[in-house]
Symmetry: C2
Subunit: 109 residues, 2 copies
């Protein structure tokens, strides 16, 4: 996955990982805290955290025997920017189509 958008979008393409993101927006948390609400074995859950971290959406640091994760907002902004740009282009195209339609409605004004 060369592009950063690749890993960010693919990290967000999973409800478990999106739930983790939502939880972390409320503040940092430990692995077991985050794991709590999810009905899956810890190692499976850790893979999700790993993906989030590789995508740069989350950073973590271990103190003692517990690892604390916190969110990193920048990569999400990149994804949002891409989407916003596509929407602008799309809206621009609709505007041009409408202008064209109006021009066709009254051919000689």
């Amino acid at each position: 996955m060369a592009n950063q958008l690749d890993s960010v979008f693919s990290a967000m393409a999973d409800p478990t990982r999106r739930a983790v993101i939502e939880r972390l927006l409320d503040g940092p948390a430990s692995v077991t805290d985050l794991h709590g609400p999810h009905d899956m074995a810890l190692p499976s859950f850790l893979k999700h955290l790993g993906k989030l971290e590789k995508a740069g959406l989350v950073r973590s640091e271990k103190t003692g025997r517990t690892r604390i994760l916190h969110i990193e907002a920048a990569p999400m902004a990149a994804a949002e920017d891409w989407l916003a740009q596509q929407r602008r282009l799309w809206e621009g195209r609709l505007d041009r189509l409408q202008a064209l339609a109006e021009a066709l409605e009254r051919p000689r004004t």
Copy 2:
């Protein structure tokens, strides 16, 4: 993939597919037109188109022997909305932190 966000995010997690989206924002196009710039066999490319269509990002209709695809903007908006909401929550949290910091700076005003 239960959620719609799942399939939309995962559809966008690939540069080929994002390129197709960008191209289609400029107007409808046939399969071979879309395939043109991509250095991969047609059947492989078709799988990408299939994923886009299953995610609802694209619709297509066959007339004669050529299939024309056009974009469907709504699902992208859903993804953008999710991201925008997370950002709002994140910014809200930063505001609260800053308020807290200021409150700590001058304890009795």
